[in-house]
């Protein structure tokens, strides 16, 4: 089951709506960027993680990254949006957090990035703890 859920299109409810998938990818990539300093990270490893875990090819991620600052949603807004897209389902949210965790502990991880992951994880799960 975990393998099936690794693809972002399997995580969101409306799998046929490409616009929803794009919004979901932007919000997810934006959270990853707040966890990992991609300028310091191993680019090869992160490119393959974005492709494998978020279904984001390098070029698409580059475009998203360039536009992250134009995103009108703040961190709370992104988390709330992603939770809603995941149907506020605890296990779906956990699958998503496992993806974020993969980024947080990939090569080049620092205490700062792991701490940021924890903060995001706890915002996602506060009502489930």
């Amino acid at each position: 089951m975990e393998n099936n859920l690794n693809k972002i299109s399997d995580l969101i409810n409306n799998q046929n709506n490409l616009e929803d998938e794009k919004r979901f990818k932007i919000a997810s990539a934006s959270l990853v960027c707040s966890i990992v300093d991609l300028d310091l990270a191993n680019p090869k490893e992160y490119c393959s993680l974005f492709q494998e875990k978020l279904n984001l090819p390098q070029e698409e991620f580059r475009q998203i990254r360039n536009n992250i600052n134009n995103d009108t949603l703040d961190m709370e807004g992104k988390i709330s949006y992603i939770k809603s897209e995941l149907g506020n389902n605890m296990y779906q949210i956990m699958e998503f957090l496992k993806i974020l965790n993969k980024f947080a502990i990939a090569n080049g991880c620092t205490q700062k990035s792991y701490r940021e992951f924890e903060l995001i994880r706890d915002k996602f799960l506060k009502e489930f703890y």
């Binding site: 956990m94 957090l97 991880c109 799960l125």
Partner: protein
């Protein structure tokens, strides 16, 4: 720092047993005390070698370990445990100051870290997250056997 749990969010942990491995006696006593109030049962070992022996005897749900310890360090112990049970939930205490250790830990598929210095709320949140993952995999295996 107050190490007593005041979060009231540890009900989930009551269903799970923990093996806690730590060579520093003062830290060991503190963490053992707070874990004992929150978990079903806590088994304590003083180093990796003792930890591995206790793991084989008790089969705990969660393993929580320091990394740097005499006789057998936390990574060597984790590696031996993963050979016995690749799905074992393991969390390591770390200050993220030794990248080589961290690389080895991620290669062992260890995804939960308890950051030093210890923050009580983060500590319980991390343990709760592990407990939720365990519940999830238990539910899934129940479904698969039906």
């Amino acid at each position: 720092m107050n190490y007593h749990n005041t979060q009231g969010n540890t009900v989930r942990l009551k269903n799970f047993t923990i093996l806690y491995v730590e060579d520093d006696k003062t830290t060991q006593e503190l963490i053992q005390e707070i874990l004992s109030c929150s978990c079903k049962e806590v088994f304590v070992a003083n180093d990796g070698q003792e930890g591995l022996a206790l793991y084989k005897e008790k089969s705990p749900d969660i393993v929580l370990s320091d990394i740097a310890m005499p006789n057998m360090n936390g990574l060597e112990m984790s590696s031996a445990i993963k050979k016995l049970n690749p799905n074992q939930a393991i969390a390591l205490f770390t200050a993220f100051s030794e990248p080589t250790f961290l690389k080895q830990a991620t290669e062992l598929d260890i995804s939960t870290y308890i950051l030093k210095p210890l923050d009580e709320e983060q500590f319980f949140n991390s343990l709760n997250f592990m407990a939720m993952e365990l519940e999830y995999s238990m539910n899934n295996s129940e479904k698969e056997t039906l």
